[in-house]
Amino acid sequence: MKTPLPSMTRGDEFSEGASTWPSDVSRRRFLEIMAASLALGGAGACTRQPLEEIVPYVRQPEGLTLGRPLYFATAMELGGEGCGLLVRSDAGRPTKIEGNPEHPASLGGTNPQMQAALLTLYDPARSQTPLKAGVPSTWEDLLGALTRESARWALNKGAGLRLLTRRVGSPTLRAQIDQLLAKFPKARWHEHDPAFPRSPMPAELHLERARVIVSLDADIFGASALQPWRALSFARARQSEEEMPRLYVVESMPSLTGTMADHRRALRPADIVQFARQLVGTANGSPATDPWVAALVKDLQANKGRAVVVAGDFQPLAVHLAARAINEGLGNTGQTIVYPSAPAGRTADDLPSLCDAMKAGTVEALLIAGPNPVYDAPADLEFAAALATVPFTLHHGLYRDESARHCTWHLPESHFLEAWSDVTAYDGTPSIVQPLIAPLYPSKSLHELLAALFGDAVSSSYDLIHAAWAKRHAGEGFEPAWRRALHDGTWKSGEIPRAQPGPEPGVSVASSGAVSAVAAGALELIIRPDPFLLDGRFAENAWLQELPKPLTKMTWGNAVHLSPATAQRIGVVHGDLVELHHQNRVTEAPAWIHPGHADDCATIHLGYGRSSAGTVGTALGFDAFALQTSDRPWGGPGLEIRRTGRRHIFAVTQEHQSMEARDTARVEDIGHPAEEKEAPPSREETLYRNVKYTSPSWGMVIDLDSCIGCATCTIACQAENNIPVVGREQVMRGRVMHWIRVDSYADGAGERLRMLHQPVPCMHCENAPCEPVCPVGATVHDHEGLNVMVYNRCVGTRYCSNNCPYKVRRFNFLAFNDLETPQVAMMRNPEVTVRMRGVMEKCTYCVQRIRAVRIEADKESRAIRDGEVIPACAQACPTEAITFGDVLDPQSKVSALRQSPRHYALLAELNTRPRTTYLARRRNPHPDLG
C-alpha cells in the first residue's frame, strides 16, 4: 500500500469534549449548558423558510409538463457492445437509468455499471475544459493544432499517426475510423480494452436453450453489456422444475457464476487447462476416474444439442479449443452456442505494437480516445516513457486521468448521456445513443473529434449520427424510421447483418501447444478486472466504490485473494499486508482469505491504485497492473508471496459469512426434498395491535433462486432514493447507507461449499419492532401496510435501529448528503426527500412510486393494477427476482408466489410478520453426485 492506512481512532468527527461529558462538571455548570442548549436550539429552530424562486421556461418544450418525468430510450456501451436503456428525465435532467424491455441485451434489466453511469455524468471531478500542457485551453486552439497536424498527414499519408481506442461498438465510429484510415493510409488504429479483452474464440451463448451448462472459468453473469440478458435467460430457464438447467462451474476465484453453480470445483488456472483436456478425452470415450467428471460427461451426453461448454474470455486458446471440440461433438454448436466467423471490416492492432512503434520513434502523433494506457497498460510496456517520445499527443476522455497528464493536449469527452452516438448489441441490433442533456462542460464526443480531423469542425454529434443513418437507410421514409428508432431504442428495420457461424478452427486441441505443468507447491497469479470498477474506468464512481463486492462485501479497495489452505501453507492470515513478487515485479497487497478460492494460486483485481482518478478513486487499494505483463496479461506461474509483518483493515459491510447452521438463506435440493422443517410456532397472540388491512396492502417476494447477487438492486435504490455514500472510514464504522443490501453466505468446504446471496431490504413488518420504541412517532404504519419513516419527526434516538432484528435501518451520523455541489443537486430524484444529519432512514418500498401510481389510479377512479407499482430494485433486477404487489389481491403475482412451497419469512420465529418474504434457492444436483 502506498498510502498510510486511515486510523480507526481518528477523533475529528466531533470537537473536543462534544461527545464525552467531562466528569468534574458542577451542577450549576450543567444547568447553564442545558439552558443555553435549549435556548440556542429553540432559537435556531425558529428560522423562517428562505424565499425560493420559480424560473419558468422562455419557450416550454413541446410535450413537457413540469412535475411529470419523461423517459427517453438510449443505450450504453460496455466492451464494444450495447445495452438498451430508458432514462428518466425530470425537468430536463436525467435522474434515473432503467433497462429497456424492448432491447435484446437488456430485456428491462440493468447492471451496476449502467445504474452508476448517472453519477459519472454529474461527477464534479470530470474534466471540464480542454487543456494544453495542463493549462486551460479552448476547443478552437486544439482545432488549430489539429488542422496544422492534419495538413502534414495529408502530405505524408498519415505516416506516424496512431489512434488508440477501446473496443468500438459504434457502427458510425467504425465508419469514421475506416474513413480516417482511407484518407491517411499509413496511419494505424490500435485497440486496448483491459476489462474486455477479445476472447481467443468469441462465442454467442443461448442459455435459454441449454439444460446443461459447463463453465470453464467463464463468468457468464459477470459485468458486461450481456449481463442482464444472460442472467435473465438463465433465471427464466430455471423456472420450470423438469427442464431446470444444471450448471457446472470450474473456476479459480469464486464468481457470480460460481455461486449459482449446482456443482462447482475450484481449480487453479494450469489445472483448468488439464481439466478441459480431460473433459475432451472423457467425452471421446476414455474412462473417467473422477466421478465428478464422469457425472458431468454423462449429463452432457444425455443432453446433446441442449448442453453447452463455455470457456472464459481470460482462458488460453487451449481451453477454448477443448470447449469447442465438445460442443461440436455433441451438436451444441448452432443450438446453445454460436461461433461467429471473424467480423467483416478492419481489425485494430494491439497495444504492444503501438509501444514498439513509439519506442522505435516512428510515432509522430498519438490520439488516445477512451483508454488510460499510462495507468492500464501492462507494466513491461512502460507506456509513459514511450509516450514521452511522441511529439503530438492528444487525450480524449471523461477525466483528467494519468494518461491525460502525460499528453500535450487533453479534450474532455462528452458522457453518453450528453452526446449522440450509436451502438450494436450482441446480436447486431443497433441502437441510437440518445443524449438527455446538453454537455455540462465544453466537451466533445469522439465522433465530433474525428470529424474535426477531416476538417468538419461544425457538425454536432447529432448531425453526424443522423447523416450516417440517413446514408445507411435504404429506401424511403428515413425520418419516420429515425423517430421510431429513437422512440423504441432499437433500429428494427435497419439491422446490421449478424455474424454468420464461422468454420471450424484449423488447430486441434492436441496441437494447441503444450501447457507447461506447474509444480504442485508453486503459486500461480491470476489477474482479473474488478467486478465493479473493471479496469479502473469506474474508479471515480463513488457508488461503485462503496458497493460491497460480491461475496467478500469489501468496499473501497482490493486485495490478494487466497484459499484458506494456501494461506495457511505460506503462513499468511486474513488482513496481512504481503509483498507479491511476480516476474521481477513487486507490489504490496493486503491478503483476503477467500473460502472457495482454488489452492496454490492468488487472484488480484485491477482498477485500484490510481494516482489521478479524481477526488474519489485516487490512492485506494493497490495497482494490479504493476504485475501485469503483455505476454501473460491474466497472470501465470511464478508468484511468490512474502509477509511484511504489517496489517491492513478492510472496509467491509458484512464480517461474518457463516449461517451457523441456521437457515437464513434457504436452499432446497431438487430430487432430495429437504427434511420437513419444524414450522415456527404460530403466535397469534401478540401485544401489537391487530390491524385488518384492506387492499391494496403491499408486500414483496424475493426469489433467491433467481438472484445472482449482482448488487444492481443496491445501486438502483441508491440512485432512486438519493442515498449518499459515506466513504471508506465511515464504512469501517458500520455506517454504510444502502437501503437494500445483498448478504452473502458461504458454508461448507471444497465441492460442498455453498455460496448464497440474499438481498435484504426493510421487511415492513406488520408487528414492527421499530415502531413502539420510537419516542416521537417518527416511524409508523400507514393504511397500505407500509412501515413509513417520517423524517421531519425523527429526532435521531436510533432506538428503532437498535430494535430492528433485520438491521435495515440507516442513520445519518454525519451530513452525508452533499448539499453544496450544483451537479449533485441536479442528479437527485425530486420526488424523494434529501435527508439531513441526525435522521434515520430505510427502505420505503419506493413510496414515491406507489404515490404516483395511486394518484393516477385515483384520477381514473380505478384500483391500482397488479404490476403497476415497481420499486427501483425490482425494476433494475436483471433476473426479475423481486416481485412487488398487493398481498391481499389473490390474483396478484406476489400472492401467487406467497403460496409457493419455497416461500418463507426471514426470522419468522420472532413473529414480526414481515411483508418482505423469500423463496428458497433450489439446487439441481446430478443424481450421481448427490
Binding site: 423558510q49 419558468p56 413540469l66 400507514d782 417520517v790 420526488e831 385515483d858
Partner: protein, 248 residues
C-alpha cells in the same frame, strides 16, 4: 455589662428582612405567574400564527407586478391558460415567457413594467419569480389529484381574482392541511366549479350536493363515492391522514 450591650445581636432586636407589604406581593405573584404564562403562550401563538410569521396576506415582490385581478376578473382568462400542469401534474406550472408574449407582443407592447418580459423574450433568459406558496421540501403536494377530487383553486389560494399582487391566504401549516384531509367533504365541490372564483356559498359544495340535478360535470358520482367511503370509515384514520400521503 457595657460589653454585652455592644456585641449582642439578639433576634428580638434585629430589623425585619421583608417589610409587611411583601405578603401582599407574594399573594399577588401567584395569579400574576399564571397570567404571565398564559400571556406568554398567547403571545407565542399570536406570533407564530401572525401574518408576519406565516407571511399570509403579504404580497410578495416580483420582477413584474403581475396582477391576477386584472387577468382573471378583468379579462376572464382561465387559470389553466397559464397554469397548464394543474390537471395533470403535481406542479401547476408557471407560464413560459412565450405565453406572456402571445398577448403582450400585441397589447401593452411598450409598457415599462413589461420590460423584463420583453428582455426575457429577446435574450432567452427566463423570468425569475418569487415563490408565493412554498411548502417545506419534505412535503410533496400534488395539484392534479386535488383538482380531480373537486378541491377548487380558491379553497387554498383564496380569491385570486381579487388580488392585484399575489399573496397567500392560509398558513400552509400542516394542521391547515390536516383540517381538510380529516374532513375532505367540507372542501370538495363539483368538478365544474373547480376553476370558478366566487364567494357565493350557494354554489359551493353543500348545495352542489343538494342540487345535484343542476350540477354539471361527471365527477359528482366520484365525489359522492368518496364522501360515502369516508362516512363509512369515519373521518379519522383514513388513508388521507397517512404520513406517506404527503411525506416520503
Amino acid at each position: 455589662m457595657f460589653r454585652t450591650e455592644v456585641i449582642s445581636f439578639s433576634p428580638a432586636r434585629m430589623a425585619q428582612l421583608f417589610p409587611q407589604y411583601s405578603n401582599t406581593i407574594a399573594r399577588l405573584a401567584v395569579p400574576a405567574l399564571v397570567v404571565s404564562v398564559a400571556a406568554a403562550a398567547s403571545a407565542f401563538h399570536t406570533i407564530i400564527f401572525s401574518s408576519y410569521a406565516t407571511r399570509t396576506h403579504a404580497p410578495v415582490t416580483q420582477t413584474v407586478p403581475f396582477s391576477h385581478e386584472h387577468h382573471v376578473s378583468g379579462l376572464g382568462i382561465d387559470c389553466r391558460y397559464c397554469h397548464t400542469g394543474v390537471e395533470t401534474s403535481s406542479f401547476a406550472g408557471l407560464p413560459a415567457t412565450e405565453t406572456c408574449m402571445t398577448c403582450h407582443s400585441q397589447v401593452w407592447r411598450d409598457a415599462p413594467v413589461l420590460q423584463p418580459v420583453r428582455d426575457s423574450w429577446a435574450t432567452g433568459k427566463p423570468l425569475r419569480w418569487n415563490r408565493v406558496h412554498d411548502l417545506p421540501d419534505y412535503v410533496y403536494f400534488d395539484h392534479s389529484i386535488h383538482v380531480k377530487k373537486g378541491v377548487a383553486c380558491m379553497e387554498c389560494h383564496g380569491r385570486v381574482d381579487q388580488m392585484p399582487l399575489m399573496a397567500t391566504q392560509h398558513t400552509l401549516y400542516m394542521r391547515w392541511c390536516l383540517d381538510c384531509h380529516r374532513s375532505p367533504e367540507k372542501h370538495q365541490g363539483p368538478q365544474a366549479d373547480v376553476f370558478v372564483m366566487r364567494d357565493d356559498p350557494g354554489l359551493s359544495r353543500k348545495s352542489a350536493l343538494a342540487n345535484r340535478g343542476e350540477t354539471r360535470g361527471e365527477s359528482l358520482p366520484l365525489l359522492e363515492h368518496g364522501i360515502q367511503a369516508i362516512r363509512e370509515k369515519g373521518a379519522r384514520g383514513t388513508r388521507l391522514e397517512d404520513c406517506s400521503v404527503c411525506h416520503r
